[in-house]
Amino acid sequence: MKPTTLRLRLFAASFASIFLALLIAGFSIASLFSNHVETNLTKDLTSQFDRLISLIDATPSSLALHAPLADPAFAKPYGGLYWQITDIKTNERIRSRSMWDAEFTISDDKLLDGKLNETRLLDPEGTPAITLVQRLVFELNNGSIRTLDIIMAEDLLVFYQANAKFRSDLALSLFFLALILSLAAWVQIALGLAPLAKIKQEVNAIRSGSTKRLSKSHPPEVMPLISEVNELLDNQEKSISYARTRASNLAHGLKTSLTILGVQANDIRKNNNNKTSKTANIIEKTTNDMSAIIDHQLRLSRLNTRSRKNTFTSSLLKNITSITKALKLTPNGEKIKWHLDIDDSLFINIDEPDLLELLGIIIENASIWAKDAIFISNEIEGNSAVIIIEDNGLGLTQQQISAIGKRGIKLDSKGSGTGIGLSIASEIVEMNSGEFQFSKSKRGGLKVEIKLPMTKN
C-alpha cells in the first residue's frame, strides 16, 4: 500500500474530527431546540388548560364556560387550538369553535387516574397535535357531581415547520463552520509541517552539494532530529575518509614492499646468471602486476560514488592547467608544445579529484605518445562539454583503437603502462553518464573525445 503523505493524514484526521464533532453538535442542538420548543408549548398549553378549567360553568342542567378563552385561535375554525369537554355520564359535550364539527375521542386509560396527561392525537385537520387530557369531578351546589373529560390540543404543524426551518438553518451554519474549521486545520497543519519542508529543502541542498550540514535554525521540537542527522553525516564523512586513508596507507605499505622486491630482483639480475636473471624477471613482472592491481583498487576506492542529485562545479581549465603543469616537469612532457584552447568559464559536473584523475590519465597518455605537440580544446553539445585531446604521435590502428578502455589493454605493447589507467578513466566516464570516443587525429596521433555533463548555471 502506498503510504499517504503526513499532511494528508493529518488533514484527514482533522477533517474527520471536525465532521464528527459538528454532526454530534448538530444533532444535540436540534434535539435541544426541539425539546425546548415542545416544553414551552406544553407549558403554554397547560396554562390555557388551567384557564379552561377555571372557566367551566357546570350546573346540573347545563355545561358551559363563563367566558370564552382569550386566544382567538379557539374561535377560528381549524385555528390550531382546540378544546373539548364531555360529561361522561350524560355524554353532553361542549367544544371550541375551532373544532368545527369534529370530535376528539380518547381512550379511558389516559383518564382513569384523574391526573393531567399529555398525549398525541390528530386534530380536526388530521395534523398531529399535542394534547392534554384530564378527567375531573365537579361537585355541584346541590351536592350532585359531574365527571368531565377535558381535552385541549394544539396543532403541531407550526412546531414542525419551525423545527424544520431551524434544522436547515443549523445544517447550513454547521456546513460553513466545517469549511472554516477545515481551512483553519489546513493552515495549522501547513504551519506545523513548515519545519519539515525546510528540512527537506536543506537535505536537497546537501544532496546537491551546496551545503554540507543541516542548519541550526529550526524549532526546538525538531532540533534533536537535526542533531542526529548532522551527527550521522559527520560519522559517514569520517568513515569514508578513514576507509580511504586506510586503503591508501595499505596500498602505500604494499607498494613500498613491492618496490623492495623489485630492488632485490634487480640485484639478482646483476649477478648475470641466466637462471637467476630469469627468476629476477619473474619476480619483477609479478611485483609490477601486483602493484598495478593495488593501484587499480586504490584508485577505484577513491572515486566519488555520489548520488545522481549531487552537483559539482569543477573548472575544466583549472584542472587541465594543473595537469599540464605537472606533466611539463616530466621528461616526456617537457619536450611537448602544449596547445590549450579551453573556455575558462566552463565547469564540469564531476567531483574535482575524479575529473583530475580522468583528464590526468588521458593527457599523460597523450604526452607519452606525442611527437612534440598536444592539442586540448573543448566544444559544447547541449548540456554537455566535449573535451578533445589530440597528439601528433604515430597514432593507433583501428584494432588498437577499438580495444582501448578495456582493463589491462595498453595502447602499445612496448609501453610501460599496465592499461589500468584507461580502465579507471572509462569507469569515471561511465559513472558520470559521460561518453568516450577514440579516433585517429588529423594531426597524426590519437584523438580522444570525452563528453561530460556541464554544471548548469
Binding site: 632485490q264 621528461p331 590526468g360
Partner: protein, 220 residues
Amino acid sequence: MRILLVEDDLIIAKNIISALEIAGFIVEHEQDGEEGWFTGENEKFDAIILDLGLPVLDGLTILKRWRKANCNTPVLILTARGNWDERVEGIDAGADDYLTKPYRVEELVARIRALIRRSTGHANPVIEVGEIILDTRLMRISKAGQPINLTPQEYKLTSFLMHHKDRVIDQMELTEHLYTQDFERDSNSIEVLVGRVRRKLGTNSIQTKRGFGYIMSSEK
C-alpha cells in the same frame, strides 16, 4: 652533483644510492623527516629525492617548509600514492617532479638528470660549450665529435661546470658538489682534477679566474 635522498626504507635507499653513485652523483641519505628537512635546508644540493611517507615529519610538510624558507633546490617526490590529485598537490606544494612506486631505478636516474638540467636553465639534454658536448642522458662527453674517456670524478667536474657554464664556480662549491662530506677540504684535489680534465679536453676548456674559481665558457 650532490643529491639528498630522504627515504626511510633502507633497502630502497641502498638501491637508489647505488644507482645514483654509478651515474656519478654524490648522495647524502637521511632516514627520517626531521633530519631530512634540516639537512635539505642547511646544505647545498643539486637535487633532492623526497619520499612522502616518512617517520617524524611527512614529506609534503618538509617540502612546504623548504619552499617557505626560500630553499629552491629541485625536488623529486617519490611516493606510492599515484593519484592525480595527490600528484597535483605535490607539484603545487613546490615539487619539481613526481615518481610513483614501484619505479625503475633507471627512470629515477633519468628524471634526476633532467631535473638538474632544467634547474640550471638547460631545456635540451645536450649541453654544449664550444666544441665540448655533454649528453646528460648518456653521460657522455665529446670534443669535436670525438668521445673523451673521463674518470667518474673528471666527468662529475666537467658535468657540473658545463651545467653552470658561463658562471665562475669557487673551489668550495666544487668540493661540496663533487665530494662527500668527509672529504678533506684543505687538500688540492680540485686543482689536480682540473689539471687532469684540461689535459683531456684542452688547456682552455676550463679557465681559472684567479681569486674566484673556475669557469667553462664558450667565450674565450
